[in-house]
């Protein structure tokens, strides 16, 4: 058991406007989120002495995916930092927060601004989401594919939707999971989004609506895939003693997990029905006395609906292979259920803020600020999971104050 995580708290959160096509720059959105988080943490800009982001800039990411790099944001705020970091490799999007916790715990920084910004809705325009290596409609002149992508793109497996669909069908085969069960993730997300004023999709969704929507790549239908948006989310990771200086509860970092013990590959990973979430889940519970039954809300990555099912199993909220029956009917995972899941509507309905929306929502729930979507129980422990497939990261947060 370790306690270094508990030297850090999330003292403030912020988020820009979130929308389908805001036509604002990624830096503009980031500054909104950052300034809100800094103020929420009871700080001034001058107090911030660290900065971190996922994925950072300069990696040749698709348009609208990366957001501004940390130097750009540091400069825009004229921060004087004692620690700074940004990058795409690691335990999924939450790695940036994990890095900030380590910096604070090591005493390298006292208040770290961590942000994730996307402008994918504006970048994609009316063309919709493209596969990797091809444009929105045609293929002539596509570049030759080297590296890891050569093992998927030339076989017309252009998207994570395709790659993860293979995992989903394997789960169906091994455990008898059904499309009706899978549908509950999307339906639960839409139901919760209706109570979230910032969610982008709030029209009611029935099981009939889910099945009537077009198939993308079986078993994933339209509503199994998250909704690209523009938006920025920021948190402030502070030294734990700062909690007494803030006029609202803070989220104490109880445990974090970053393990990846199988092959870091979409198709060579030993267990296709769990992938890296398995290793993260196992590691997480070794770092705390808490147990899955102590968790009051679970904000579990739903870039594709199936990932939330993977996380429910990997984090021990249900047995191996049992996520289908666990979510059947959507009762257990509802706001008033035994384990509320994706209380803000997830990326499926609240928008693809790419990982940080779950962190933000966990803190909102811990602080009792969820408004119409606040779960009707005393929220003391929140679980947050990011990523899926061969990258995964997770965190447990507890309420303090």
């Amino acid at each position: 058991m370790t306690d270094f995580e508990r030297k850090a708290v999330i003292s403030g959160i912020g988020q820009s406007a979130v929308g389908r096509r805001l036509n604002r720059t990624d830096l503009d959105l980031t500054l909104d989120a950052a300034l809100e988080a800094i103020a929420d943490a009871g700080l001034t800009v001058a107090d911030v002495d660290g900065i971190a982001t996922y994925p950072g800039a300069g990696g040749g990411a698709p348009p609208g995916f990366a957001g501004p790099g940390s130097p750009e944001v540091q400069d825009a705020l004229r921060l004087k930092v004692n620690w700074h970091s940004g990058g795409i490799e690691g335990a999924a999007q939450i790695q940036a927060v994990i890095n900030a916790v380590m910096a604070v715990s090591a005493g390298l920084a006292r208040h770290v601004l961590v942000y994730r910004t996307v402008t994918e809705a504006t970048a994609q325009g009316s063309g919709g989401r493209a596969g990797i290596g091809v444009g929105g409609g045609g293929g002539g002149g596509a570049p030759r594919m080297g590296g890891t992508m050569q093992w998927s793109i030339p076989f017309r497996a252009y998207s994570a939707a395709n790659w993860l669909a293979l995992n989903a069908h394997r789960h169906f085969h091994e455990f008898g999971t059904t499309p009706e069960q899978l549908a509950m993730i999307a339906i639960n997300a839409r139901r919760n989004a209706q109570k979230n004023p910032k969610a982008v999709y709030t029209d009611p969704m029935t099981l009939d609506d889910y099945f009537a929507a077009r198939m993308i790549t079986s078993p994933f239908r339209l509503y199994d895939c998250d909704a690209p948006v523009d938006g920025s989310t920021a948190v402030i990771v502070s030294a734990a003693e700062h909690a007494k200086n803030v006029d609202h509860p803070v989220a104490r970092v109880e445990a974090m997990a970053t393990a990846l013990r199988g092959r870091p590959s979409w198709d060579q990973f030993d267990d296709m029905t769990t992938m890296a979430a398995r290793d993260v889940g196992a590691q997480l519970w070794t770092r705390t006395d808490l147990r899955p039954s102590d968790v009051d809300v679970a904000e579990l990555y739903d870039g594709f609906s199936f990932l939330t099912m993977v996380w429910l199993e990997a984090l021990g909220f249900c047995g191996r292979g049992e996520s289908g029956p666990f979510i059947e009917g959507g009762t257990r995972i509802a706001l008033d259920g035994e384990l509320p899941v994706n209380t803000h509507g997830g990326q499926l309905s609240a928008g693809r803020l790419h990982g940080f929306g779950f962190i933000h929502e966990a803190v909102v729930q811990l602080r009792g600020e969820g408004g119409d979507r606040q779960v009707p129980r005393d929220v003391e422990v929140a679980a947050v999971a990011n990523g899926g497939g061969p990258i995964a990261g997770a965190m447990l947060l507890t309420r303090e104050g």
């Binding site: 596969g131 030759r144 594919m145 017309r156 395709n162 293979l166 069908h169 079986s218 198709d267």
Partner: protein, 136 residues
């Protein structure tokens, strides 16, 4: 046989060229460690099991099994018809898999566990290994 679909071409280099040109003689090849017998994919310079650099392409039988599948409907590359992506496993080694396409199979006859065999789709110098059902 349907006309060959559009495919993004792999960039050939000294590491992967054997794989993408293997089909010239109708055989599917993976790298195999000549010291310990481990099949390694994707190809890398050293055996991850024993560390030996004595790795060389070797032909497999070309038979495999469908480990999973997805029928793609989204028009990522301008396609107008659904096509099938499969994950194929090979009897030569547990855990070695290939993401590839299933061809010549009605969509409602796809089954996880069905036996398949390799056929090659030639685009210039590159032979794409795709799989068709083994007719019993």
């Amino acid at each position: 046989m349907l006309p060959a679909p559009f495919r993004v071409q792999p960039a050939l280099d000294d590491t992967n060229r054997f794989f993408w040109t293997s089909g010239a003689d109708g055989r599917l090849r993976f790298l195999r460690c000549q010291a310990c017998g481990y099949w390694l994919h994707p190809p890398i310079p050293r055996c991850p099991e024993c560390g030996s650099r004595d790795v060389a392409p070797e032909a497999v039988s070309g038979r495999g099994e469908v480990f999973s599948y997805t029928v793609n409907h989204q028009s990522w590359d301008g396609s107008t018809e659904p096509y099938v992506i499969v994950l194929v496993t090979f009897p030569e080694q547990e855990g070695m898999r290939l993401t590839t396409n299933l061809v010549d199979c009605p969509l409602d006859e796809i089954r996880i566990g069905m036996p398949v065999e390799v056929v090659f789709e030639q685009h210039d110098q590159v032979y794409f290994p795709v799989f068709k059902p083994v007719i019993a």
